[in-house]
């Protein structure tokens, strides 16, 4: 049995018009935030749960952490149904909502940590070990005595991550953990997530719309759009599955004058040409042959487009 099993969950939000004696039409609008989603996650995996804003990522995380009841479908996390047994489930999980800190705003960070230590009944040795482990990576020492409101976003996120891990949970849910962070901090946070996954065998599910998070962290992604699961599998899979495009950069001896067939967005400057080809309509040897017929290739690189380009392309396809 998998650690997390999600079977056909649906979440419908009913939005009532605001209570007002003047607005008597009481028709509620319905939003299918999550629409018949199923997946399984095994112990030790890192799953990237991706989708645009409003795709249903946070709703899924809230159902998994036991805060929300699905409208239909079943979830089990390590044999527990989270929304039926919220407190038991809560001991096994750590949750970070990127936009919402669980630290106490006006108190020094250490106060929140001490609180969580007692709340989760973490024994002294485990607490010390965990703190040393976090400190080694993030140098928390300088931050602990500062009130949370005086931390930068990045510092706060690091502390929030550690707070969620203090009780050594088996599962870590991260809802947009890198939102708003600068590149260095983002990398730092990603490295940390990777490290705890590898060393502490914590199963991680992170939602994001930052493609780089996924590229750095997870080999498996679940892509959702408007509450529906669009893809579940390895990143390489989505790359092959969704686009068969290659970015080709060529440097030639003579200025580039040729017109090539079936090529999108050629970008030509003298002897340098960049273009994207679709492998279903064209092939790399074809292109090389076509160019070397009248010119000499000095250098050539073939790249897979990155995930961001792919998803952009993919979203456009959905909209059509």
């Amino acid at each position: 049995m998998s650690l997390i099993e999600v079977k056909n969950i649906t979440k419908v939000y009913k939005i009532k018009p605001s209570k007002n004696i003047f607005s008597l039409n009481k028709s509620a609008t319905k939003v299918n935030a999550v629409d018949d989603i199923s997946f399984k996650i095994n112990r030790g995996e890192i799953i990237g749960y991706i989708g645009k804003n409003g795709a249903g990522k946070s709703t899924t995380i809230k159902i998994l952490s036991g805060i929300l009841l699905p409208t239909s479908g079943v979830v089990t996390v390590d044999g527990i149904v989270p929304y039926k047994n919220r407190i038991k489930n809560a001991r096994k999980i750590g949750v970070v909502f990127g936009q919402r800190s669980q630290l106490y705003w006006d108190l020094p960070v250490i106060d929140s940590f001490c609180f969580l230590r007692k709340l989760y009944q973490v024994d002294h040795d485990t607490y010390q070990q965990n703190m040393n482990y976090f400190d080694e990576f993030f140098s928390l020492q300088d931050l602990l005595d500062r009130p949370v409101r005086k931390l930068s976003l990045g510092q706060r996120m690091k502390c929030d991550l550690c707070a969620a891990l203090l009780h050594s949970p088996e599962i870590l849910y991260l809802d947009e953990p890198t939102i708003g962070l600068d590149i260095l901090t983002k990398n730092n946070v990603r490295e940390f997530i990777k490290k705890i996954n590898q060393e502490k065998k914590i199963t991680v599910m992170l939602t994001t719309h930052d493609i780089e998070d996924i590229e750095h962290l997870s080999s498996r992604i679940i892509l959702i759009d408007q509450g529906k699961k669009m893809y579940d599998g390895p990143i390489t899979g989505i790359q092959k599955h969704l686009t068969r495009k290659r970015l080709i950069k060529v440097v030639t001896e003579k200025p580039f004058t040729q017109v090539l067939e079936n090529i999108e967005q050629p970008n030509i400057k003298e002897c340098h040409a960049n273009f994207v080809i679709d492998l279903d309509q064209n092939s790399i040897p074809n292109v090389i042959n076509a160019i070397s017929g009248s010119n000499v290739i000095k250098d050539i690189t073939v790249q897979e487009p990155n995930l961001e380009q792919i998803l952009f392309h993919y979203y456009q396809q959905i909209e059509k």
Partner: protein
């Protein structure tokens, strides 16, 4: 096991320390309220040309007034406003990912706040008031113990009531208005401003049927003189209201829980 619950109380206390930098002002204003009320009632007794009103002498009235202020300033937290705020701002999600019963969390957090008010704000005011006015000493150790027990029940009643009110406010989308109404009612019918025994007997009869007197008047009547039989019957009534409001708060919690689970945090 106990440490888990104590941690919530402690963080409630620590938060109040951080928020309430102005506890000196709070302390002074508590003292002022005690003084003003005591002077007013002294003047009433002097002008009435009598030593006893409705069976109570001046010292009893002043003792009542000052202790009522002490209890009220400790009980009178903004639990319902805090609760409404948590729901509205979605802060409740961060409480719901924790392995603890939510009403209990709110209750203990609030208790931490009350303890802070008691120790830092109200006690100093009370000690000074004790030097300024004649205050009746308790009749026996037993009276002190029963009074404390009664105050604990009072805290429980008031917190459960506020929790329920907070959720009604959320439902009515007007926590603030309902909170104001609540305070108005308690100020009138609990004994926090006017000792209940000074109301005309007709009105007293009605007030005694209501639960509001349980949080101030009941502990003070026990403190002032009640005999054992009366104490037990008063505590019995308090317990009845405590259980009633506990049930009401649980029902409203189930309603809120359902709402959050279905409507989202």
């Amino acid at each position: 096991m106990f440490g888990k619950y104590f941690s919530v109380l402690e963080i409630g206390y620590r938060q109040s320390v951080a928020y309430k930098g102005d506890f000196i002002i709070g302390s002074i204003s508590t003292l002022f309220r005690m003084m003003i009320l005591a002077y007013i009632w002294t003047a009433v007794y002097q002008n009435a040309n009598t030593t006893v009103i409705n069976g109570r002498g001046l010292i009893e009235t002043i003792t009542y007034i000052i202790l009522a202020q002490l209890i009220w300033s400790v009980l009178n937290t903004n639990l319902e406003v805090l609760l409404g705020f948590k729901i509205k701002k979605g802060e409740i999600t961060r409480d719901l990912i924790k392995p603890i019963n939510f009403p209990l969390l709110i209750f203990l957090d609030n208790l931490g706040f009350s303890l802070f008010i008691l120790l830092v704000q109200t006690m100093p005011a009370f000690v000074i008031a004790c030097f300024m006015f004649d205050i009746q000493t308790p009749a026996s150790i037993l009276h002190i113990l029963f009074t404390l027990l009664s105050i604990i029940l009072a805290f429980f009643i008031y917190a459960s009531f506020s929790f329920t009110i907070g959720i009604i406010g959320f439902w009515a989308q007007n926590v603030w208005g309902i909170s104001l109404l609540k305070k108005l009612i308690f100020n009138t019918f609990s004994g926090s401003l006017v000792p209940l025994f000074l109301y005309p007997p007709m009105i007293q009869k009605w007030i005694y049927l209501l639960p509001f007197k349980e949080i101030i008047n009941t502990p003070l009547v026990i403190y002032l003189d009640a005999d054992l039989q009366m104490i037990l019957s008063l505590l019995g009534r308090q317990l009845f209201w405590a259980v009633t409001f506990f049930i009401l708060s649980q029902i409203s919690w189930m309603y809120l829980k359902r709402k959050i689970e279905i409507l989202g945090g």
